[in-house]
């Protein structure tokens, strides 16, 4: 069984770090400490972290912070970042006004 899949796996306790107030997801203003704490709350995948904290759900849709979040989660879990799946990319690629998106037929 992969280490990520057993959600009762012992990962110790959350211990505060001096740079925990560093903002990682700029769009949604989520800090490193919040991401680290989420892992100890059982959020072991990027998809779960995103749904739990909103990292990567803002205007840039994670194009800025995805790699950083992955690194933080991997470090807390003691696994390689390569073993962590990226979150799903969602259309549209850039934010688009409702009246523009709604005007694709005419």
């Amino acid at each position: 069984m992969s280490k990520i899949n057993d959600r009762s796996r012992e990962i110790g306790e959350y211990i505060a770090q001096p740079d925990d107030d560093l903002i990682i997801c700029r769009c949604e203003e989520i800090t490193k400490g919040e991401i680290r704490k989420a892992v100890y709350d059982g959020m072991f995948t990027i998809t779960e972290i995103r749904r739990y904290l909103r990292t990567g759900m803002g205007l840039c849709q994670g194009q800025t912070c995805a790699k950083l979040v992955k690194g933080i989660v991997a470090r807390e879990l003691g696994v390689s970042p390569l073993s962590i799946e990226a979150a799903m990319s969602r259309a549209p690629m850039r934010p688009i006004e409702m009246k523009v998106l709604g005007n694709e037929i005419s």
Partner: protein, 375 residues
């Protein structure tokens, strides 16, 4: 690690997680098996967040009313996490005489069941939600309805259940449930085997395939739903919205973004490539729907769209039932797109079925053997 527990739950959606939490709270040992690598990756994370009673089938309404009266108001406190529950009412909007007729029919059905819902004029609707366009000529209004955040609710139940010692295993697809001495007991995955005194099958559409391994069929199909999410806006309104024309539904979230669902009309024949995928037609179609009701929103930006599968039962209400032929099994599937709002009630009832041997509400209308041929 032990692979035996009092209860094995198949599926870590909001139903499975809620059941796990209420069971653990009452002292049962629980293992939850999830096919996806992510907790709650099916309909639980892919729905509009409605916590509604209006528009619900008579057979399902008691569950919705029970949850809204007894569980939702204190859920954030109970789970020690904000699930963003708002009870600011539900407006179902109409623009034409035919719409008003549809809404009046639904309203009469609901009042017959003792629900506080009424028909109001377009102007009354604009009193409640001042951003509505003049095209709205009437609405049904249920002041006790609302919405919550399905992502957070699903994960809040997971988090709390995990803290209470529930074992969750993801990436673990159940392929068979096997009887031992006439009773369902063994749950098999490709590499492992688990055993439980009771097995709750709450795997959405996949429940059908799994139930067939112990000889039971749940007549359901899967339908795609699609949703778009806007950039954050200052708080405008917190009602849950729907329409008689079914051209969109949705609400504004705590975060400020609007979450709007809708359809293109082509859902029934969407291609299934194994993952729910947004189509190129639907988001645009939803935008056109919304702008008729809310012209004020035409300049706000869509940042994301997503899709999900609903497990739709042939008669559009869930199967929540023991199985006479297979003791040890409890079915909790085919929620038909209504599972989220009733999930706290369903989780509570499932825990009662396991621990007390029967639920405190009459669930006979949701039995697994209710399906009959037409002649």
């Amino acid at each position: 690690m032990k692979n035996c527990a009092d209860v094995i739950i198949v599926g870590s959606g909001v139903i499975g997680n809620a059941a796990a939490y209420y069971l653990a709270k009452r002292g049962a040992s629980v293992i939850v098996l999830e096919k996806s690598d992510n907790i709650g990756d099916g309909g639980s994370s892919r729905n509009g967040g409605g916590v509604r009673q209006s528009g619900r089938d008579k057979r399902e309404l008691p569950l919705a009313m029970f949850g809204i009266k007894n569980l939702w108001p204190t859920l954030s406190e109970e789970l020690e996490m904000d699930v963003e529950y708002y009870q600011d009412g539900n407006l179902r909007l109409g623009k034409t005489a035919a719409h008003i007729q549809t809404l009046t029919g639904l309203t009469n059905n609901a009042t017959d069941c003792g629900l506080d819902v009424s028909m109001i004029s377009g102007d009354d609707a604009r009193q409640i939600c001042p951003y509505l366009s003049e095209e709205v000529t009437g609405a049904s209004w249920c002041p006790t309805d609302g919405h919550a955040n399905p992502l957070l609710t699903t994960l809040a139940y997971y988090r709390k259940a995990r803290q209470l010692g529930v074992r969750f295993i993801t990436g673990e697809e159940v392929v068979e449930i096997r009887k031992i001495k006439g009773k369902a007991r063994q749950v098999l995955t490709p590499n492992n085997s688990y055993e439980g005194e009771t097995i709750i099958l709450a795997a959405g559409y996949d429940s059908r395939k799994i139930a067939s391994t112990f000889g039971i069929d749940i007549p359901m199909t899967q339908a795609l739903l699609e949703v778009l999410v806007t950039e954050a806006q200052p708080p405008m309104f917190y009602q849950m919205l729907g329409t008689a024309a079914a051209d969109f539904y949705g609400h504004q979230s705590t975060h400020g973004s609007f979450v709007f669902g809708g359809s293109s009309g082509l859902e029934d024949v969407n291609k299934d490539n194994g993952t729910p995928t947004s189509t190129s037609l639907t988001a645009s179609c939803i935008c056109r729907g919304i702008m008729k009701y809310f012209p004020i929103l035409e300049d706000i930006k869509i940042v994301r769209s997503w899709a999900g599968w609903m497990d739709v039962c042939v008669d559009h209400v869930p199967v929540l039932s023991f199985v006479e032929e297979v003791p040890g099994i409890i079915l909790a599937s085919a929620f038909s797109g209504h599972g989220f709002g009733i999930s706290p009630a369903v989780g509570t009832l499932l825990s009662e079925m396991v621990i007390d041997g029967q639920p405190s509400l009459d669930l006979s209308a949701l039995r697994y053997d209710r399906f009959k041929a037409k002649i």
